[in-house]
Symmetry: C2
């Protein structure tokens, strides 16, 4: 049996040596970036579900509108526009997806044929690398700086021949680095996208989880030429098991997302669309404030513990929201040995190499997530990591 | 902005001349193949949902197992195997998808690179044609006979160079023809698939809706060499708004589906997986008998009305299950004028050309669906169609 060229890499055994995964009762898991269950609006979900299933069950049981319910699309538009910016403009279409993840899949389908290049931040969301490859395209990393992509490197790569077909970015509290792109860079990214004719997928699932500093405009709002599609989801603000996300895009791009979603699986689960729509329509500022406080507490504690325990040569990011911190060790550190030592000491992190388009053979970084960690885990985990940095750094 | 070559056809305006879509209060809709809401197990869905959301809400709210819940996979396996055949064998994996439709998407991704050919029945499910194209592959039709694909035409096309990468079939009560593939042909299809090394996707959503004759073995059960993947869903036996389906495949094929689903959107909605799992695990023979009776009544009435009213030169299929009948007029009929006359007379059907891989310029058929029609609609619709056949046939 012959498998497609693009599917073949999925059958290769993954290099386990960079995955830190020892499990025991004493394991401190700073690896998983899942939302904390204490942030789920369980009683509101129950009540919305009860009302729908009692009052209008057929609205969630039969086939519904292709590519998403009109009522949810309107609610999402109002939610995104509630701060004043026209995130969803009159020319934009919203397609409801199975999590934001499916919007990445659709974007690659919409813009890439076999062998086409997708520019990604380096490092980037590891699943995005899988998606790009699963559709026959090739991810190529663009260097990151403390305030987002390196614009020189971005322009050099946008100018390549053959031309890259898509730029994928996570501007706020990026996965895996926690970095936020400055407003100036957002505008520059849009200018370059227009100059080189390369559309941008802005993946912004953590946007509402800002716990310090001011909200920045979405990249989509910095774009005057319809080059940017925005995807986000209800995974981090309601619950990820809903698998309900969306992508907003103008003109032909918006039409393309809608048509490809319709072809792929017609539409996502209707119950989740109605329940999420009901909760968002009634307002969720209280829940969002609660989530921000929760992430602020855990993120703040993690940063202060890292400041206390880490060797001064170990650098780490200080996120203003979201759930990730990126730790980078000096070049001379034997990363394999460091990760093995973490494993020995029952601390789970994710090796940075997994987030690199090129496999990251020389990567000296790892990702920490504090979203599910208790205070004790954060304190003990940071202490152990700190001790190891002192052992491995000169 | 540059769109992928494969997305470009999706921006073309569709030829509306073959779509029969006049809507008015008196319209008789024999076009839509949706399951009838009177067949949805509403109270069981309510009760299962209540138990889950009261008892264990986090089981449906956080991320769940990649590519589907283990509990649902086991329930699906037991359901498929309950008649005795090992539809799901020890080497098989089940991947939970967003409707059966997503399994077609994953199959094309798994087997096809840009330009590869997918063999389909002619006519076939029109959405499958869109899916194949949306992933850069090309559908090629294989002639249909009264008992399924024409084996000679199939072998001739399987032997082509370059070799087709996938065969897509709907063996029971096919959409759009209502045709069921004979058991002998099922075995031959498997033999040819093995001989030419071409995997088969068996799409079998209507299997449980058999209302006359004996259940035939799934094509997957006629296959001794792991060449067949089976997809089906809960859309026709519970409710389509669930968007819960599955694909069963052995060995590397099963692994490939699981990995591509995980990359595409991680997993489908969890609530629907739990609710469908609970209902299927408790047993649903009573519901299935009810559905069969409902389709038997409507399908039987439609066939007897067509026998009564149609011109003898108008041929039509007599399905043993499912929801579709395929009517074919003599070659000399001006099909465009016939469809326009149906439209004038407020009867909605689907033009057969839409189900043809080659666009069906010479197609003289149309699809009737009786799943949502009342007795009166069926009687009146068949009478009007019959009168028009007498007007258009010599």
């Amino acid at each position: 049996m012959y498998f497609s060229k693009k599917a073949q890499p999925f059958f290769l055994p993954k290099d386990q040596s960079y995955i830190n995964n020892k499990n025991s009762p004493e394991t401190i898991r700073l690896s998983i970036g899942n939302p904390p269950p204490d942030g789920f609006p369980v009683s509101r979900i129950r009540e919305a579900s009860r009302q729908i299933l009692e009052g209008d069950p057929n609205s969630v049981l039969n086939y519904s509108e292709a590519a998403g319910m009109e009522s949810l699309r309107q609610t999402v538009a109002a939610f995104l526009n509630r701060r004043g910016d026209a995130v969803v403009g009159p020319d934009d279409k919203i397609t409801i997806t199975t999590g934001g993840q499916q919007a990445i899949t659709l974007a690659v389908q919409l813009f890439c044929d076999d062998g086409d290049v997708v520019l990604v931040e380096e490092p980037t969301f590891m699943v995005a690398l899988d998606i790009v490859r699963s559709l026959g395209a090739t991810p190529l990393g663009v260097k990151m700086e403390e305030d987002g992509v390196d614009l020189e490197d971005l322009e050099r790569k946008m100018a390549m021949t053959p031309k890259p077909r898509l730029l994928y970015i996570i501007p706020d509290f990026q996965n895996p680095t926690g970095i936020t792109m400055s407003e100036k860079k957002r505008r520059e990214v849009c200018r370059l996208a227009y100059k080189y004719g390369i559309p941008v997928l802005e993946d912004n699932p953590y946007y509402e989880l800002r716990f310090s500093g001011d909200f920045l405009p979405f990249v989509k709002c910095c774009d005057e030429h319809g080059m940017v599609a925005l995807t986000s989801s209800m995974s981090k603000i309601i619950a990820p098991g809903m698998r309900t996300g969306y992508v907003v895009a103008g003109g032909k791009m918006g039409e393309g997302f809608e048509k490809l979603k319709t072809a792929s699986d017609f539409h996502s689960n209707s119950w989740a669309q109605r329940v999420c729509g009901a909760i968002m329509a009634e307002g969720m500022e209280k829940e969002l404030e609660g989530l921000r406080a929760l992430y602020r507490d855990r993120g703040g504690l993690m940063v202060s513990c890292l400041e206390k325990y880490l060797h001064p040569d170990a650098a780490f990011t200080r996120p203003e929201g979201g759930m990730f911190i990126w730790v980078t060790l000096p070049e001379y550190v034997d990363m394999k040995a460091f990760l093995a030592a973490l494993n020995e000491n029952h601390v789970q992190v994710v090796a940075g190499s997994l987030f690199m388009a090129d496999g990251g053979a020389n990567c000296r970084s790892f990702r920490l997530s504090y979203s599910l960690a208790t205070e004790e885990d954060i304190e003990r985990g940071a202490r152990i990591i700190g001790e190891l940095t002192h052992r491995f750094c000169k």
